[in-house]
Symmetry: C3
Subunit: 360 residues, 3 copies
């Protein structure tokens, strides 16, 4: 795991987490690894007692584990939330590289841009007129901030990101490489000659605090008002968020999902990968949308839906199971029809009967 | 709605549109908004008489509306095409920012590139050898034009766009951030050892006049000849157009759709979001392909298809409805078989019978 | 086909391929084209005897064709592998443009980066601290290599590519414009307040020799260890490869496919376009996954699957055919029920009966 962290005593990590060590606190953590690949110098973690046998079989030198899980003779940071504490250890051992403060000599910054003195602007990054960048925010190489963009504090704007004019970004926002914020929405009306006439997209995008957006995802500006990504929402790679969408607080949108114009995603809703949503519908608070679902109508608060077109989770499971039995059911239906004299022909010898159905 | 436009008299806007005002033409339009969120200083629009009650309930100060729609005491620009005229007003009130003419001192322009004196090249943009850029075209920051690219007049090439060598772009073309034109097509043949051998992609991409292409969309160069996007076609974000495709005049391709190699899209055809098309097929003139459809064969001129694999629209509606009834139909089929003595077992009490079917 | 190659004698091309010419070897090849559009100065190719009539009808001046295929009076390079030899001719006639060696004066290279003297770094490209770039590798304009990236020999890194810190790239790798390698994986745990807490993504991406990755594709870094793209794998445009995936040697992944975290793709497996895979599953060596399939469980070595959820190929064909017959089957089921007295109502005259089923 590159780069190797500075080996750190288990007791020191536990103390920072506010947890206790069971066993030898002087163990030095030289790496982090999952149970199945961890070696004797690695720290690993055990999600729950269900994974006790995997822990016993693991080659890890130490663990973060819930109270009562037997990890053999090896030392354990005892934690009610092992995954969370393990993530905190990772953050502690592998701190993000912090580039030097200030604008790189080869950054291209407009004279009237207002950069906090602790912000960092990378080589080849372009910062337009009237832009504001907050404290400790890092704008990486070759990112482009159009005029009148505002970015808060402690953000990370990666290479190749494009923020179109007027975009607003809160604090602690992470935009991964190639993200495009504020591109024109896709809207046309027919003119007198039946040609497509572009509807000007004059709104903007507002990204609230603690949002993270994955590589090459696109979020279009609103036609008139705002496209808004609310506090703490997490969006994966290659997602399309069309004009006038509103993504709720703490919502999760997984890779390659596409939201048509005006879609509203509720608080802490979760959309799995490759979902598609028709425009102007609402996914309720806490709703769950299974991978590859196609939404054509609202999803109620807390509902769980799958499939395309969407179905309630249980109905979808039944539908998938029924579909698998359908070829057999068609054969049985033909047998019934023959038994009733509703069908004359016999199955061709050697055929499974399915192909003959087209003639019925 | 940022930035606030200069308030403008309703009569002045109407006069520019060639329309009449009903009511107080001295009303000053300070913003634009949809009916449901418009305030007393905003202009809104009413698509048709069907929206009359929404207009009556709206807080807008003025409207663009068809003749005969009652908008209360508020002034109206009377228009046979309210959405079109509203778009024109938006364009009038929110003109695109026009960057200064000429190459930014930090643009990277090859000595033999031919830039019209009215073109604008942004900071960090790279313009390769032999490139031509037409009148009033704007190449934004950090865009990259490989050698021998030609771009016409009045185009907007946004930040992060990449035009590979030899690409041809017509007039009034808009390429949104992160668009890649002319990347290699995806083609391999097996060599003597069964390894994949790259088929050189030596064709190019031609983009005709009035085309618009959304953020992070990719259009691959042809293997030998041309990939062509014809006049007035509109392509949304994150669309994949493979080598040798031919997109027809005025066609519309919505977000995250993918077209395999050699797909031909007819004049004014429309492909909704997340469609996929197998290679070497043709979607006819004026055809409509519903969201998430999967095309494996041609679509006739004017046809409407949905589903994956595609079905004619009415057949698809019937198929979706039938699928929803399938679990119930399987239960009824079992009842029929029992009535005929074709089936021995009884449904387990408390079961809905569906799960027992696996044993039949 | 731009740019026009230097006309070259057929005999010279044949000799370089180690093949024989049948007919006039002095024919000069001035262009390359498929059978249907080739003209009298073009070389075309005939895949097999099945295409003999297309060859006869073609306007091509010469062919690469298997022994025994009649191409009229025109000269032929006789080849047991016409497509492969035609690709080799294309490579010979249209050599890739080779930019000048060394760093462009407007490239932005860290002082301690180690560039081979034959490497080429384009204008606006950013090469971070500690980066290594191998012999004859071309890094195009506006690409960004974060610190501690290593790229081997004979690679082509196109404009706008972003390689995050620590990425390893082998030899002869092609990364098309807008590719993002090493973006953070998408992983969160719930903290004490139920908020999403980011799991640090501290692993990296390793890309082995002879890999090619298409425009705007994203490959995320591993949470702890490595995301690995093995030797000779080919990935198309707009594909999402999540953290900890492992793509096998010579595997093919077609456009807009998405692989969730920890997916393992076997040697020479092929995933067609728009496939989605749930996390932590394995697609076997030599397996084939049809376009738009949705994988929720492993695919065996050599298996062929389609559909969403996936089915074995033959079962899927049967399922698709059965689904098309379903509306008719429901009507027949009602007829059976009426014949047995299990159903009272009659079909409404003028109705096709399908809609009445909802009441049953």
């Amino acid at each position: 795991m590159p780069p190797a962290p500075t080996p750190t005593r288990l007791s020191e990590l536990a103390s920072e987490l506010g947890r206790q060590v069971r066993g030898d606190g002087s163990f030095r953590v030289a790496g982090l690894a999952p149970l199945e690949s961890a070696g004797p110098h690695d720290l690993s973690f055990v999600r729950s007692a269900d994974h006790a046998s995997a822990a016993a079989a693991s080659g890890a030198g130490a663990f973060v584990a819930p109270d009562g899980v037997d990890c053999g003779a090896r030392p354990v940071i005892v934690s009610p939330q092992p995954a969370l504490d393990f993530a905190r250890v990772a953050e502690r051992l592998f701190p993000r590289p912090v580039p030097p403060r200030g604008a790189h000599p080869q950054a291209l910054v407009a004279p009237d841009a207002k950069l906090d003195s602790t912000a960092s602007i990378g080589a080849g990054a372009v910062v337009g007129a009237g832009v504001r960048v907050g404290a400790r925010t890092v704008v990486h190489a070759n990112a482009t901030l159009y005029p009148d963009v505002e970015v808060g504090a402690d953000c990370e704007i990666h290479a190749g990101v494009v923020l179109r004019e007027g975009t607003r970004v809160g604090d602690r926002v992470r935009l991964h490489p190639g993200v495009v914020i504020g591109g024109d929405g896709f809207g046309y009306v027919s003119d007198e000659h039946g040609e497509l006439y572009k509807v000007p997209q004059v709104g903007r995008v507002v990204i609230e605090d603690d949002v993270e957006i994955g590589a090459n995802t696109t979020v279009d500006r609103a036609t008139l008002a705002e496209t808004r990504i609310r506090r703490g929402a997490k969006i994966d790679n290659l997602v399309q968020v069309a004009h006038n969408c509103d993504i709720g607080e703490g919502a999760v949108v997984v890779g390659q999902t596409g939201l048509s114009g005006g879609t509203v995603i509720g608080r802490r809703a979760a959309l799995m990968a490759q979902v598609g949503s028709a425009g102007h519908l609402r996914v309720g608070d806490g709703a769950f949308v299974g991978a590859r679902a196609g939404l054509h109508k609202d999803v109620a608060d807390g509902a769980r839906v799958w499939g395309s077109p969407q179905m309630e989770e249980r109905a979808w499971h039944r539908s998938v199971a029924a579909l698998a039995r359908l070829p057999d059911a068609l054969r049985r239906l033909r047998a019934v029809e023959r038994a009733l004299g509703l069908r004359r022909e016999k199955p061709t010898p050697g055929s499974d009967g399915a192909e003959s159905d087209g003639e019925s």
